[in-house]
Amino acid sequence: MAGAFGAGFIQERPGAGMANIVQFENVGLRYGTGAETLSDVSFTLSAGSFYFVTGASGAGKTSLLKLLYLAQRPTRGIVRLFGEDAGALPRKRLPGFRRRIGVVFQDFRLLPHLSAYDNVALPLRVAGMPESEVEGPVREMLAWVGLKDRDAAKPPTLSGGEQQRIAIARSVITRPEILIADEPTGNVDPDMAERLLHLFDSLNRLGTTVVVATHDFQLISRIPDARMMRIEKGRLNDPTGALRYPPGKPPS
């Protein structure tokens, strides 16, 4: 796994305690004229930290992530990303911000008519990387998620777990500054879940801020330094972002 990001790179987690890469101030989100999905959400994410977002289904985890990966603008409050007010960003600047964020969608959102190879290569091509420089990283990433022999397969012919691994490979291939994953291990077996989590941990140790939404507390316990944010009915019940699992254990 480590080969994907170069040998001997994982030494320590540099992130926690550094500058805030994300800052939410009294953020509210409402779809249409309905009730607020998120209310008065305030927190900060330190660059290079690892965060879990937990909460029951419908609590607002996915909405929170949408604000993070710029699929929504807040209805009120301020969302700062990379030091800038994301809510006030003009449209033409959004692509540049989005390229700094990797996203693993809950429903994968692979392009079904493209091969696994082309799906993983997509972010590099969008970023304008020359085709000659695309193949190496894509092959390496496919090998890393254990799908090097499935490079020509189209997503509909892949299992749920395989699709999820392709989606993860696509999200991390550009070495994003923030990686956001919505239930990334929901469709994979425990071994693969652990491998994927190790990938996220590796990226995090390289400086990527990782935010993972999950129900899986076993998963959370595998990243001892991670922080946990819990959402209940659209409100963050741990605004400091300092809670960890299991509760009461101080951050190391």
Binding site: A71, Q72, R73, P95, R98, R99, V126, R170
Partner: protein, 296 residues
């Protein structure tokens, strides 16, 4: 993402299996009709130019004189004097037998009677139809016979010329209408394409694609469909125009001969599908960018 490059992976970003050939055939029909209308306009403009060129410097001097001897003498003098004028290409008295032949449908055999007081007619061809040259002819003729009447052929056929001009402008209006209709088809197609590829576009946006990158995917595809369909329609229309031209040439009509297309006209018609493809490209870009502008 460079557009219009076949081997580029970007070409595969939009699901080709969802692509219908409807756009291609619509464009084939549009260009077929546009090329026919344009050919009509070019042909009529050519005929109008030919008519103007042929008639501009052509006139007839009419000399009405009851005394045949005086009339013939005056006619000979007028012919001599007019021939000596600058810019005069040809002067010829119309043969009286030819005049009688022309009048026969109205006068019957009486037209052949030598005693019938028919006016003398002198055809004059000038190098140009400018009024100074015509005035010189008029002055020379009236110096000999003050009652001499000068008839400009252009004046007689001006309604024909005006009719040809009207058809030309009608054809121009048709071409403009077809271009407008094509642009509207492109706008609707682009919007429909955006709708059917909404999921793909959402993913591309989330990965950091710019609106221009997305627009290029659609404009390339629409421009290619317009070009291919346009070429089909253009070839079919040009075949028909060529066949009609052959038939018109076979009639031997001087006026219809002027309708024949010149090489420049054929070139212009061949450029129409390219022009429409470029217009489709711009229209698609405007439609896509305008629609994406409303999204996040």
């Amino acid at each position: 993402m460079t557009p219009l490059m076949r081997d580029k992976p970007e070409r595969r970003l939009l699901d080709e299996s969802r692509r219908t050939r409807g756009m291609l055939w619509v464009m084939a029909i549009m260009l077929f009709l546009t090329v026919l209308a344009a050919a009509l306009g070019l042909g009529m403009a050519g005929a109008s130019r030919t008519l103007d060129r042929q008639l501009a410097g052509r006139l007839t001097i009419q000399l009405a004189e009851g005394d045949a001897a005086k009339r013939d003498a005056a006619t000979r003098v007028i012919v001599q004097r007019v021939r000596a004028l600058p810019g005069v290409m040809r002067v010829a008295e119309v043969d009286r037998a030819r005049l009688a032949e022309l009048l026969e449908p109205w006068l019957g055999e009486a037209g052949l009677d030598a005693d019938l007081p028919m006016p003398a007619m002198i055809d004059v061809d000038l190098a140009s139809g400018d009024s100074a040259a015509i005035d010189r002819v008029r002055t020379a003729a009236r110096a000999v016979a003050p009652a001499a009447q000068i008839d400009r052929h252009a004046q007689w056929l001006s309604p024909v010329s005006a009719f040809l001009d009207t058809i030309t402008w009608f054809a121009v209006a048709l071409v403009v209408l077809m271009a407008t209709a094509t642009a509207i088809v492109v706008l609707l197609t682009a919007r429909g394409g955006l709708d059917s590829h909404r999921d793909t576009i959402a993913v591309l946006h989330m990965l950091g694609s710019t609106d221009m990158q997305v627009a290029r995917l659609f404009q390339r595809r629409i421009a290619l469909d317009t070009l291919l369909g346009g070429l089909l329609g253009t070839v079919a229309a040009l075949g028909i125009v060529w066949l009609l031209g052959q038939q018109a040439a076979g009639l031997g009509s001087e006026l219809l001969g002027g309708v024949a297309l010149v090489p420049t006209d054929w070139l212009l018609l061949l450029l129409l599908p390219v022009a429409f493809a470029l217009m489709a490209l711009v229209a698609a870009r405007i439609a896509v960018l305008g629609t994406l502008e409303k999204t996040l």
